[in-house]
Symmetry: C3
Subunit: 337 residues, 3 copies
């Protein structure tokens, strides 16, 4: 159940409106003017709510649905109690997603620049931007239109940020060129020095880090994540990547389109990842490794060598996931003997 | 030895005072007016200090105690050199803890609101609060009595913070309802968007995150830790939980009372943990898993399936800890053959 | 190729100048007045650039060098195409490093104190310091000469910072004594409370944390890293240590000189590490462990017991690295049978 202290409820919605938003089909059309007050999960929904039911595995719970309305599939509809009004959708999850967006559309903050923000005279800030308290925008920075930059964010000299970007509270961005529609969450550190040293005269001397961080369009980077800039070439994050909280991406990494890096992943320097690959939580990847496209790497795996397109691996070092499971079972049996 | 540059020493304390604070028993009562200047560990204590000795394993070091006074147990007292004054306690560790608090009680900062803080007009701030420089408190926020909110913290619209809470430097809190007596350390990110996507038309679309983060009473959350809010239901952190630095708690997780999550633990979404369970450092837990109460999970373990109450497990995937140790030994022997 | 939007190019450099900076030998001295515009890696360098070639493993690529000038060794020089001008160096990597520094030397920010900085009246700030916007410097803090403290950093009461230190954006420092020439990156949290509790009356009571964090000279600590102060004794980071992003160092750890802790390493409390040891990414170390000097610990390893000087280990629990590899191969073969 959504707490209206935090979220504006644009409802109630009539079933006709819901059909319009979701493309679902109302079985009993006489009810098109009935209203729904809110959205909730199957197990929590009250008789004023709409819920969804799409997963056969939850059918035991379907008997107890107390919602007024349920979006489900044609196949599952007979499992829903008789008094619940049914909407049929090929993809109830997507329908529910669209309805969430419509019913609880978040109000955009007003476009204004806080008096306490420090914006360099030669920085360019696009139209309709919202710049929060104590934000710092350095010399020669360029920020596109419709951007929102939250309190205490720091954007260092010469950075370029595209249109429709949302930079969260306390984010720090340096040596970065960012595309459009990106969302950077609170506390992320982008474009800082890579961890590269040269041992000389008993000391680890930092190698000058002279590259950039280039971020594509529609990228999200999570809270307190760190993405270092390149040493001489660039660190590159492809379009549509989703990077979770507390992830580390090192200098000169090149990550393709639509990759997902789950929380606490760490990727060492100069590693390449193809498109639409998924790295589970806490995965570590060695430096100078090449990972293909549509690769899936199980959580906590340690990648030490290249992985071809489409492989599904796990373990440290990684092996095909079925083999990882077999190894675990083998070991469990071996010590029980 | 405590550095009085950083900590105020309320001493010297007479032994009578120490008896009063700790409940320990002074063997030689004629010495009750003697004084102790400070507290230190056994190996560092000088002849003006008090130390404690509670662990039989350290008995080799006891011979060298140079402290003026030692709190120990009746069982161990004969191991302490003769010239050291002895106080007997059933629990010397607890006695030392109480004495630490009494001798070095930290002065509370003055209750005042910094001129540079931005507090929304309709926010409610309780009595006797200390609000630091550049703090931002959003619309309709409610903050209880005796709270301390340190510099650069940002509390977004509508959040509720209970009494006696301490919010650290640069913390960011959104969509959160927090109980009393909580301490949130520097740089923690609470209530940000969960990492939930739906793949549609070649793009990972973010699922609207419409839940809250509900934090109980007496909870501590460490530096740079991230606790996301729920997607539709809430993320819940139970009373008395202790969450260490750099931990990740994902959306819709429900954590019971008194759990301990050691540094760099990562818990994926919709997972439940019972009461008083302990997760060692760098443990990872998959999504939708149920972990019971009083479970202990060894450091770096990867939890992929449910764990019953009271189990003690380790490894990835987790097995009973004894079996984990056997597996390690088995493998070491196998390759030596 | 270095982007002059972000980095000032002090070039072009004549080959004579390059010889002067690097100590390399120009084979064809008639070319000493020729000029180089920039520096680039072998594979990207254009005919205006200088590149370097030092690794025999890259010899296949050497054929395609398009750079104007290449720094290489006497041994490798014959692999470079004939039209490329050659400079000979015993250590081309070091030569390139020096050249990077000379050609793209970063301009130091102007020494000034931002009007929005809050500096306590009794704090001492040395000569030629640069204090950024909204920086907070507490009571009785001492800061040396030539320091740079970036925006939103918070340095709490009584801390001591040496000369030539660079404190990054949003860093928070408490109970800390820091040497000279240190660099602390954006978002690091230094000197916060250790994670130490005592279970009493159903509650985890925090043990008072009364120690300091003592940091030597020439230490670097990465973005969003956390280094807690000691409980009663100090946490100590030795001279020349390099600590990467998102690392956790717990209370009372003592780390020797020149150690390298790669990203996401986590070290539990009261652990000791000798000099020049290297911990790979995501390594975890248990509490109260002693690790010797010049130890190398492979990425993701879990250290549960002491490690002697010079050992090279991997795995969880750690074993000699060769044995770790054998164990992996053994397991892979065992399940294929």
């Amino acid at each position: 159940m959504v707490d209206i202290r935090f979220y504006k409820n644009n409802g109630p919605f009539t079933l006709a409106k819901i059909v319009e938003v979701t493309g679902a089909k109302l079985l009993d059309e006489t009810k098109s003017q009935m209203q729904v007050m809110g959205l909730a999960y199957m197990e929590n929904a009250t008789d004023e709510d709409l819920c969804f039911f799409f997963d056969k595995k939850s059918k035991a719970k379907a008997v107890d649905i107390k919602a007024k309305v349920c979006i489900t599939t044609n196949e599952l509809k007979d499992l829903v109690p008789e008094n619940v009004i049914i909407l049929i959708s090929d993809n109830p999850k997507l329908a529910f997603f669209k309805l969430n967006q419509a019913m609880y559309a978040m109000p955009e903050p007003e476009a204004k620049i806080a008096a306490s923000a420090h914006i360099a005279k030669d920085a360019k800030v696009g139209r309709n931007c919202c710049i929060g308290e104590n934000v710092l925008i350095g010399n020669n920075v360029e920020i596109g239109d419709n951007c929102r930059i939250d309190a205490n964010a720091v954007i260092d000299d010469n950075c370029i940020i595209g249109n429709n970007c949302h930079i969260g509270v306390g984010v720090h961005i340096s040596y970065c060129v960012m595309g459009n529609n990106c969302k950077i969450f609170s506390g992320a550190r982008l474009g800082q020095d890579g961890f590269g040293f040269m041992f000389e005269a008993g000391q680890h001397k930092r190698i000058p880090q002279l590259g950039r961080l280039v971020i594509g369009n529609d990228v999200e980077i999570g809270c307190n994540a760190c993405v270092d800039r390149g040493a001489l070439d660039d660190t590159i994050i492809g379009d549509g990547c989703r990077i979770d909280n507390l992830v580390q991406v090192a200098h000169n990494d090149i990550i393709g389109r639509g990759c997902i890096l789950v929380s606490q992943v760490g990727i060492a320097g100069s590693t390449k990842i193809g498109d639409y690959s998924v790295l589970g939580g806490q995965v570590g990847v060695a430096d100078h490794v090449t990972i293909g496209s549509q690769v899936q790497i199980g959580a906590q795996s340690g990648v030490m060598s290249n992985i071809a397109d489409g492989e599904v691996v796990m373990g440290c070092p990684t092996v095909p996931i079925k083999q990882f499971m077999k190894q675990s079972i083998y070991l469990q049996k071996a010590v029980k003997k």
